[in-house]
């Protein structure tokens, strides 16, 4: 187990390095620079700013410096959006906001999606199954901003007399509702479909017949024997999805003006705030890597046959 963990950590560091390098070159490949705004500064000003922030040096030198700082835990400072504030500080300020919305969204997605998937599998071929299939297909194929906009339009005053929730995020409990619904709708639908498929597979296994022969009630059979065997694909999907959702639904945060990491991520790209782009990307990547590791450990709990240390 220790050997396994050491190997995983080394792999994680390599992955992060690759992510950092790729992001660095890609972001420098985008036309434009941080200094462009409505008022284009003179070339002399741009040169001066570039020199100040080290952007006049060759890319490879910049990357080397950045990675060197990164190893020491220094993510650099923002050069545009919150000038001269450390990137790490910005991330740590933004992330809790995103995480709060994200956790709520993922919790309701799991609590609704998994049981609904079980229900659809159990009632296979009935109208319940068909209804859930339609809802979930819509949920999976509809982009998040459409869901968000629809919710905003219908429940926040678009229809005369109906104004159940505030349209702008202000930190009150009521303002959490719509972003959470919008953010969790896609994972909920996806989870429900995933669970249904896996459940159908396990429901038809022989050990389900054994459980019935023992005299177990249907509910116990479904949740204890069938669902436990169907959880692997669900967990696989959930790991990275938790990371994505917690780091902010990029679009949903923009629609609801939530001051979270997701919205900042987009704005940092729009503004070419290079250190901020790097910081948020690496943070998200690290988070996904950690979640994947957790998922692998969860496999072991759910399925005792899986041996983490064996293989390759």
């Amino acid at each position: 187990m220790t050997k396994y963990m050491v190997r995983r950590v080394i792999m994680a560091i390599v992955t992060l390095a690759v992510v950092a390098c790729t992001t660095f070159f890609l972001m420098n490949a985008i036309p434009g620079n941080p200094w462009l705004s409505e008022k284009t500064p003179t070339q002399a000003t741009i040169d001066a700013l570039n020199a100040k922030y080290g952007l006049d040096q060759p890319l490879i030198v910049q990357l080397g410096k950045y990675l060197g700082n990164l190893i020491q835990g220094d993510f650099g400072t923002s050069i545009k959006m919150q000038k001269n504030r450390p990137v790490l500080q910005i991330i740590l300020e933004m992330f809790p906001v995103s995480a709060k919305v994200g956790i709520l969204a993922i919790v309701w997605a799991v609590l609704a999606g998994v049981p609904l998937g079980c229900l659809a599998a159990y009632k296979r071929g009935t109208w319940i199954d068909s209804f859930l299939r339609i809802v979930c297909t819509i949920g999976i194929s509809m982009p998040g901003f459409v869901v968000a906009t629809l919710l905003l339009h219908t429940l926040c005053g678009g229809i005369a007399g109906v104004k159940l929730f505030p349209a702008l995020f202000d930190g009150t409990p009521a303002s959490y509702v719509l972003p959470c619904i919008a953010l969790g709708f896609y994972p909920m639908c996806y989870l429900s479909r995933q669970t249904r498929t896996a459940m159908l597979d396990s429901i038809n296994q022989e050990y389900i017949k054994t459980a019935r022969a023992k005299g177990l009630k249907n509910g116990v059979i479904i949740f204890k024997h069938a669902l436990r065997n169907a959880l692997i694909p669900v967990i696989t999907y959930l790991g990275p999805q938790v990371a994505f959702t917690l780091c902010g639904g990029l679009v949903v945060e923009t629609v609801f003006s939530i001051p979270g990491l997701g919205r900042y991520f987009i704005q940092s790209i729009q503004n070419r705030d290079y250190p901020l782009i790097m910081g948020t990307t690496i943070f998200l990547a690290a988070f996904i890597i950690v979640m994947n590791l957790l998922v692998d450990v969860c496999y072991k709990i759910v399925d005792p046959r899986i041996n983490l240390t064996r293989g390759n």
Binding site: Y207, K209, T210, K214, N229, D303
Partner: protein, 343 residues
């Protein structure tokens, strides 16, 4: 029926149809109008080629499948009775008619008395549970043991009864060999002290060397615990060895049922004769001199079975009558039943 009959399980006109999506009519007619009884303490063997409905019959008796119609009686108590929803319409096509809801007993108390050993041991044990949990769960459902130590003792006792080590209780099914897994399956079935066990091809998935061990173990258990078996297999020689009586199935129907020795000596139904002639004999001379009956054609689809006698499409003695009329399952000699027009 005989005078000393002490009948434990009986089924009358049992039918099990599986609906087929997009097809009108009854679908797959897996079990078609079977009536059979099993005496207390005996082993009834059930043979027939794959797809003839042996397994479905066994599982329907235990109500692991919902029966379509018929009657199932366990130890004098009716546990299922339902009217046939399929009646031949004007043009001979089966029509779905409204029938009253079948009478069904609460199965939980019967799950203690009727158990099943499945064919594929690796598939029939939940891979996420240890052997101890698998066996213990059955004890918990029926609340057989109050204290934890009694429960654990019972699990250990069961494991040693089937020839496994007591420390195997903490292992998972995949850590065992096929033969050991089947022993776990047997221990699991025995856990609740059942009277009647459906052995659904319990040895087909095992190596030949293990087969005899498991068969012998099943026989020993029967003697010790006074069990009644419905033993399903497609290997005639094994069934002949273990059974008191043997039933032969073809395409969902029972074609012949007789005492084991009698069936081998004096097979009445042409299908039984064919089956017996196909059993390998460990004697080259006898084997060469023997007449093998080879059937023409394939088994018809149970979705669209032949009219009249279901065997008439392949029977060497088929007549006009066989094509039109379903033969009655009758007792031709004492305890020797068959369904054929030519007897």
């Amino acid at each position: 029926m005989n005078k000393n009959d002490d009948i434990l399980v009986s089924v009358e006109h049992l039918k099990k149809y599986f609906p087929v999506k997009g097809m009108k009519g009854p679908g797959v007619q897996a079990v078609e109008d079977i009536s059979v009884f099993i005496r207390r303490g005996e082993t009834l063997g059930l043979v027939g080629e794959s797809g003839c409905g042996k397994t479905t019959l066994g599982r329907t008796i235990l109500q692991l499948h919902q029966p379509t119609s018929g009657k199932i009686v366990y130890d004098g108590e009716v546990i299922y009775e339902g009217e046939d929803p399929w009646k031949p319409g004007a043009n001979g096509v089966m029509q779905d008619v409204k029938v009253p809801k079948p009478r069904q007993a609460n199965m939980l108390p019967y799950r203690r008395k009727m158990q099943i050993i499945f064919q594929d041991p690796s598939a029939s044990l939940d891979p996420r549970m240890t052997v101890g949990e698998i066996i213990g769960e059955a004890l918990d459902i029926h609340k057989l043991f109050e204290s934890k130590t009694d429960r654990m003792d019972r699990i250990k006792e069961l494991l040693s009864t089937v020839g496994l080590n007591t420390e195997h209780a903490n292992r998972y099914p995949h850590e065992f060999s096929g033969g050991q897994q089947q022993r776990v399956g047997i221990a699991r079935a025995l856990a609740v002290n059942p009277e009647f066990i459906v052995c659904d091809e319990p040895i087909s998935a095992l190596d030949v060397s293990i087969q005899s061990q498991v068969v012998n173990m099943l026989e020993d258990m029967q003697k010790e615990l006074g069990l009644t078996y419905l033993f399903i297999a497609h290997d005639l020689s094994v069934v002949r060895h273990i059974s008191n009586r043997i039933g032969v199935m073809y395409l969902g129907t029972m074609v012949e049922l007789a005492e084991s020795y009698e069936l081998n000596r004096n097979p009445m139904h042409p299908y039984t004769q064919t089956l017996l002639s196909a059993v390998p004999v460990p004697d080259p001379q006898l084997s060469r001199s023997r007449q093998r009956i080879i059937l023409e054609g394939d088994i018809p689809s149970p979705m669209n079975p032949p009219t009249g006698c279901r065997f008439h499409t392949r029977c060497p003695h088929a007549t006009e009558k066989c094509r039109g009329e379903v033969p009655e399952f009758k007792e031709y000699a004492p305890d020797h039943w068959a369904a054929c027009h030519n007897l």
